[in-house]
Symmetry: C2
Subunit: 675 residues, 2 copies
C-alpha cells in the first residue's frame, strides 16, 4: 500500500472504507508550527506559502471569463493516482501540497476542502488567504458556493479535471439554483501560472521487449475489437482515458508520472482505425515503426497530437457511431462532446477489465518480479538486523538503502510508490513517509513498519513487513498475530468464482474484531505488470469487480495504536483455482510475495493447527523460490537468514507457550466432558 | 423464510443474490401437464385458464384510452410482499397465479415475464393467448414494447402499481423512443374485471393492547417529528406508504392482507397534523377515540378516506412544504403529484428505520413470542417422531397440525407465511408448499424441511428445522453439519457497530464453500413485532441498513441437492452488545429461536471445540427458557424430548467418530513435528 494518494477517487474508498483512521494526532505540534489567522496581524509559520500573487493572477483570469468562482480539483486529465508536476495546480494556488483536496476561489474568498489526514499540514502550509474546510463532500463545497456566488453568477471549472461523477454531483446540486456551472477548457490556473508552470514532459516513450509482455499490441487490439463486436449495443469505438489503459494496450511505457511508467495519452480504438493521442515528439522512428504508424489500415496506429483529442472525438462522434467508455476514468472534457445517444457507458472500459486478468505469461512475469523483489527486501532486513542495534539507522536513510537494493535487481525501474519507512509511533500515522529533514531513528525497542514496492519491466511489487528486533510487549505480539491471522484467513479462503472481494475481506478482520480491535483502511488492491501499483478495478472494496482466476491483489490487514505503533502485513496474491471435495468452480489465493513474517512478533498460542500448516507451507515455498536465487547470487548471509526465518513453526515454540490449552481440550474430550 | 413472494422487489434480491437456484427440475412433469401452443389446435392442460374474455375486456378499456399497450405488475399500491385478492390483477388477466411476474398486453399480443421458479407453473396455467418470456428485467419488456407498439403509440400503466424505481427504469429506457408512457390512475384491469373483482375489505381495524406495544402512538409521532426537526433539509411532513409503517406508527392492526396483520392505509404526518387515509368504516368508535379523531390539534388524527390520498397529498404539496419519503415503498402514484423541489428522498422513511431497532420492551415481547412458538414447533416434532414411522403423515396434513398447535398458543393470530413443509426432493424446490391435492408422504428414509412461523400479538416468528428420522447418508450429514457451522459462525461473529449484514453473511457460507458447496439465496431478513415476517430494511443483503443493537434478523443458510433433498437451518437472532477484551463498540447476535437442531444429522467430527461450546451453551439456553414453559403446561413427553435433544454434545459421540484427527494433531505437536 502506498498512502500518498489513496485519498483521491477511487482510492478514497480504500482509505475511508471504515471512516479512515480518525484524526491523527499531530506529532510535536506547537503553536509555532501552524498559522493563526484569528490574531492581528496573523501568525504564519515559516512553512506557509504567500499565495497573494497567485490569487490575484487567477482572479484576473476569472474576471476575463466573467466568473464569480472557480473550482480547482487535485487530479489530472486521466484521473491518475500520481500526478505530474505540471498538474499540481491546487498545490500552486494554495501552497498546500497534500495529495487530496479541492480548492475553490471566489472574487473575495478562497477555500480548501480536505480530509482529516491533511488538516495539520494545511494549517502549516497555507497563508490566511485560505479558509480550511474540514470536509470533502461536494455538498459542502456547493453550500459554500451558494453563499458566496451572487444570483446569476457563473462558476467555472476545467472539464478535463472533473470526473463524470463529480460533474454530475455539482450539476445536480446546483441545477435548481441561480448559479450556472461553466465548463472552460482553457485551464485558468495554467493561464495564471504562466511561464513558471513546468513544461509538458518530453521523455521518450518506448516499447516493452516482447519478453516482458503477455501478448502483442495487435493481439490486444483484436481482442478488444472482438469484445466490441459481441457487445449487444454495437459499439463502433472504445475511448481510453486512463494512462495505464493506453500503456497496456500498446505495450508502451514512459516516465511522465512519478512511480508509474506512463506517458500522457488517450486512445480512440474504432472498428477500423486506431488513434493514439500523444506528444508526437516522444516517439522515435523505431517506436513509430513498431506501431505501424506509416500505413492507414485497421492495424495501423495513427498518431495524433495529445491536445487534439477533444476535437477528434467530437468529429468522430458526429458520425453514425457508438462510443464505449469506462465512466470511472473518462473526464467530463471528453464526455461532454459525445451526444448521450452515442455513448455506451460502463463503469470500466473493456481494456480496464481485460487487463485485470493476467494471462499465464503475465502471471509468470509478475511472479518472477516478486522473487527478485524478495531478494532486495531480505537484503535490507538482514542489514537492518545487524545495524539497527548500533543506533545508526534512520527511517529515511533506511528507505534510501532499500531503493538502492531494489535498483540492483534485474529489470529494475525504480520504486512503485514512496516508501513508507516508519518507526514506533510514526507507523500509526496514515500518510507518513520520512523525509531527509524529518525522520526517526530505528531502534530495537520499537516496531518498524516497511511498506514499499518496485517497478520492474516484468512486474510491479508492493509488500509490507513489520518487525521488532527487541522484546515486543504481549499486546504488540497479540495485535501482530491477529493481523497475521487475518492475512492467512483471507489468503486461504475458498470461494465461488465471481465472488466480490468486498464480501470476503471480513476474514482479514475477524481475528481483530474478536477482541475489539480493527483497522480503518481497505484490505487490498489490484497490481499490474510494470503498471499501476494500485491497479483498479481489482480489490476488496465495493467498487471492485468480482474475483476471477488470474487476478492479482494485495492482502493487507493492519492494526494501529495511535501514538505508539503500527502494524501492517501485506502480500500480493494471485487468484487460482481451488480443488474442492465436491466438484464446482471455486477459487482461492496463492501468495506471490516471498518474504518471511517476523517470528519475534508471532504469538503461536493464538494460531490454530490450520494456521500453522498454512504458515509452514508458505515458508517452504519461500525456501524453494527465493533460496536458490540467493545462492545463485552468493548471498550466503541472506541465505542463512532465510533458512532461520523459515524454520517450520513447531511444537518447540508451542510447547512453551501454548500447548496447555490444546491439551486441556484434548483431555476434556477424552474424559467425556463436554467442551 | 417464506418463499412465496420473495421474488418481488426488494425480496427479489434475497432470492436472486446468487443467481437463485438455477432452474428447478419439474416434478412428475409430463407432456399433459403443460400447454403446447406449437401444434394446431394447441394442447391445453386442464389447469390452463381461458383468458380470452379477460383480454377482450381489457383491450376495450385500452381502446377507450387510446393505448397501444398496458403494463400489469404483480404488486399493490404499497409494494407489499403479500397482496390481497383484489390486487391479484395479473393472475386474473393471465391465469398464472405465481407470486412474481409482469404481464404486458398490446392490441395483438400478450406476454408474461417471470423467473425460472415459475416457468413450469406458467406453462400449466396460461392458455395460448400468452407468450411466456423467461426473463424478468425491464429491458426485456421494453424491447418487446419497442417491437409491438407503433411509433407515436401510448403505453399505459397504473402509477400506484409502479415503484419509483420501476417508473424510472421504464422512463429512461423509453425516453429516446417514439413511444410514450402514460400514467392512468383508473386501473384498466379493474375496469375490465368489473363487478367480479373482490370488494375492498371491510374487516375491523383495531388498536393493540398497551401490553403488546413498545411505545404509544403519541410517543412514536413525537419521535418522528423530532427527527423531522433535526433533519438538515427541514421536512414539514413524512409520507408513509408501506402498510407496516402506518400499522406500527399507530399500534393498529387489521386483516386486509394474508399473513400480515395490516389494513390498506397511508399516513401524512406533518409538523402540525396527522392524516390517516383508511377505509373509515373499519374504525369503530373506540378506535376513533383512541386516535383522538374528534379534535384538530397536532396530536389529533384526522381520518380521511383511503382513496383521497393522492388529492390530499397534491393539495398539501402546493404549499410551502417539504415532504420526506422513503423511495423503496412510495409508488409513482404519489411521487408524481409532489414537485421535485418539495421532495426529500431517502431509501427508507424515518418510520421504517426507527421501527428496525426494537426498544427493550419490544425485544422482550419478541423473545416471549419465540418461547411459545418453540413449544408449538416442539409439540409438532415430537408428534412427527412418533407418527412418521407409521407412514400416516403427509406434508400438507403435517403443516395443518402445526398451524393447529401454533393456534393453541397464547396471543396467536395465525401463520406468518405459508408453511414450507417439504419432504425429500421437494425440499430442494425454491417455492414449494404442499397443497391438499399435491403433497408427499413423510418417511423415515427422507429428510424433512419445515420452514414456518406464527403471528402473535407480541411478535412474529420464523424458524426452519430440517430433520431425519432414519439413517441419513454421510453426505447428508456433512451437508447438514456444514450448514449448521455456517449458522453458528455467523451467529457468534463479533463485529463493530454499523457493520453491514452484506459484509458478514459470508461466514454462513464458508464451511460449505470449503468443500465446493453453496446455496443460492440470501442469508437472512429482519422480522417484526406482530408485523412483517420479512421486515425490511434489516438483513444480510446489499440493500439492508447496517446492523445496530436491538435489530432482529433471521440467520438461515441452507444446502439443496437438486432432485434429492434440501437443508435449511433458520433462527431469529437479536443484535446485542459484545464484551470484547479491549474496549470498543462491538456487537454480536443472540439467537432467540429455541428449538434444538437434529442430532441425528450432526457430524460432530466436523465441529471445532468452539462450535461445540457454542452449541452446548445454546442447548442450555433452550432448557432454561422452554423447559419451564413445557412443565407449566404439563407437556411431559415434550419436556423429556427436549431434555434428550439438548443433552450436551460430548466426547461419547466424538470418540467414536472423530477423535482420531484431533489426537493426531495433538500427537504431532507433542512429537515436535510441524503440522
Amino acid at each position: 500500500m502506498a498512502w500518498a494518494r489513496w485519498g483521491c477517487c477511487p482510492w478514497l474508498v480504500f482509505l475511508c472504507a471504515l471512516g479512515a483512521w480518525g484524526h491523527p494526532k499531530a506529532v510535536n505540534l506547537t503553536g509555532e508550527d501552524v498559522r493563526n489567522c484569528s490574531i492581528s496581524p496573523p501568525y504564519l509559520p515559516v512553512t506557509a506559502v504567500n499565495t497573494t500573487a497567485q490569487l490575484t493572477a487567477l482572479r484576473q483570469q476569472m474576471h476575463n471569463q466573467s466568473l464569480s468562482a472557480y473550482i480547482i480539483p487535485e487530479t489530472d486529465a486521466h484521473m491518475s493516482e500520481y500526478i505530474g508536476k505540471r498538474d499540481k495546480r491546487r498545490a500552486w494556488i494554495t501552497g498546500f501540497t497534500g495529495s487530496a483536496g479541492t480548492a475553490v476561489v471566489s472574487m473575495g474568498k478562497a477555500g480548501l476542502w480536505t480530509d482529516s489526514r491533511y488538516w495539520t499540514q494545511a494549517e502549516r502550509q497555507m497563508d490566511c488567504n485560505w479558509e480550511l474546510h474540514k470536509e470533502v463532500d461536494i455538498t459542502s463545497i456547493v453550500t459554500w458556493l451558494l453563499a458566496e456566488v451572487p444570483a446569476g453568477g457563473h462558476v467555472g471549472f476545467d472539464p478535463f479535471l472533473f470526473s463524470i461523477g463529480s460533474w454530475k454531483s455539482y450539476y445536480t446540486a446546483l441545477k435548481n439554483s441561480n448559479i450556472q456551472l461553466v465548463s472552460i477548457t482553457d485551464n485558468l490556473v495554467d493561464l495564471a501560472w504562466g511561464s513558471e508552470k513546468p513544461l509538458f514532459p518530453s521523455q521518450p516513450i518506448y516499447a516493452l521487449k516482447e519478453a516482458f509482455t503477455g501478448s502483442t499490441w495487435k493481439e490486444k487490439v483484436s481482442d478488444i475489437r472482438s469484445q466490441m463486436q459481441k457487445h449487444r449495443k454495437g459499439p463502433t469505438a472504445v475511448l481510453l482515458s486512463a494512462l495505464d489503459e493506453t500503456a497496456w494496450l500498446f505495450n508502451l511505457r514512459g516516465s511522465d508520472i512519478p512511480y508509474n511508467p506512463f506517458f500522457y495519452s488517450y486512445t480512440l480504438l474504432t472498428d477500423s482505425s486506431i488513434r493514439l493521442f500523444v506528444n508526437k515528439s516522444c516517439l522515435d522512428s523505431e517506436t513509430l515503426k513498431y506501431l505501424n504508424s506509416s500505413c492507414s489500415g485497421s492495424m495501423c496506429v495513427q498518431i495524433e497530437n495529445y491536445s487534439q483529442v477533444r476535437g477528434s472525438v467530437q468529429t468522430y462522434a458526429s458520425g453514425d457511431v457508438k462510443i464505449w467508455i469506462g465512466t470511472s476514468y473518462t473526464t467530463y472534457g471528453l464526455y461532454e462532446v459525445i451526444p448521450l445517444e452515442k455513448l455506451i457507458e460502463d463503469t470500466y472500459s473493456p481494456v480496464m477489465v481485460t487487463k485485470a486478468v493476467k494471462n499465464s505469461k503475465e502471471q509468470a512475469l509478475l511472479r518472477a518480479s516478486h522473487v527478485r523483489d524478495a531478494v532486495a527486501v531480505i537484503r535490507y532486513l538482514v542489514w537492518l538486523e545487524k545495524n539497527v542495534p548500533k543506533g545508526t539507522v534512520d527511517e529515511f536513510s533506511g528507505a534510501e538503502l532499500l531503493d538502492k537494493f531494489r535498483g540492483e535487481e534485474d529489470f529494475s525501474s525504480g520504486p512503485s510508490f514512496e516508501t513508507i519507512s516508519a518507526s514506533g509511533l510514526n507507523a500509526a500515522l496514515a500518510h507518513y513517509s520520512p523525509t531527509k529533514e524529518q525522520h526517526r531513528k530505528l531502534s530495537s525497542d520499537e516496531m518498524y513498519l516497511l511498506d514499499s514496492g518496485g517497478q520492474y519491466w516484468d512486474g510491479t511489487t508492493d509488500i509490507t513487513r513489520t518487525v521488532h528486533w527487541g522484546t515486543p510487549s504481549a499486546f504488540q505480539k497479540e495485535a501482530y498475530t491477529r493481523v497475521l491471522i487475518g492475512n492467512i484467513d483471507l489468503s486461504r479462503l475458498v470461494f465461488p468464482a465471481s465472488t466480490s472481494g468486498r464480501m470476503m475481506e471480513i476474514f482479514a478482520r475477524r481475528a481483530l474484531w474478536d477482541v475489539g480491535l480493527n483497522y480503518g483502511h481497505g484490505t487490498g488492491h489490484g497490481i499490474g505488470n510494470f503498471l499501476c501499483v494500485h491497479e483498479w478495478p481489482v480489490g476488496f472494496q465495493s467498487g471492485n469487480i468480482p474475483m476471477a482466476k488470474g487476478m492479482f491483489t494485495s492482502i493487507e490487514p493492519g492494526y494501529y495504536q495511535d501514538g505508539e505503533f503500527g502494524i501492517r502485513i501485506e502480500d500480493v496474491a494471485v487468484v487460482v483455482e481451488a480443488k474442492t471435495k465436491y466438484p464446482g468452480s471455486y477459487l482461492t489465493f496463492e501468495v506471490v510475495s516471498l518474504v518471511p513474517y517476523d517470528r519475534n512478533l508471532i504469538d503461536i498460542s493464538l494460531l490454530s493447527p490450520e494456521h500453522l500448516q498454512y504458515l509452514n507451507h508458505y515458508y517452504q515455498t519461500i525456501r524453494e523460490k527465493v533460496g536458490p536465487e540467493l545462492q545463485r547470487r552468493q548471498l550466503q548471509e541472506e541465505f542463512q537468514w532465510l533458512q532461520r526465518h523459515t524454520e517450520p513453526l513447531s511444537a518447540r515454540a508451542l510447547r512453551t507457550t501454548s500447548l496447555a490449552p490444546l491439551l486441556v481440550v484434548s483431555s476434556l474430550i477424552i474424559l467425556g466432558w463436554s467442551v
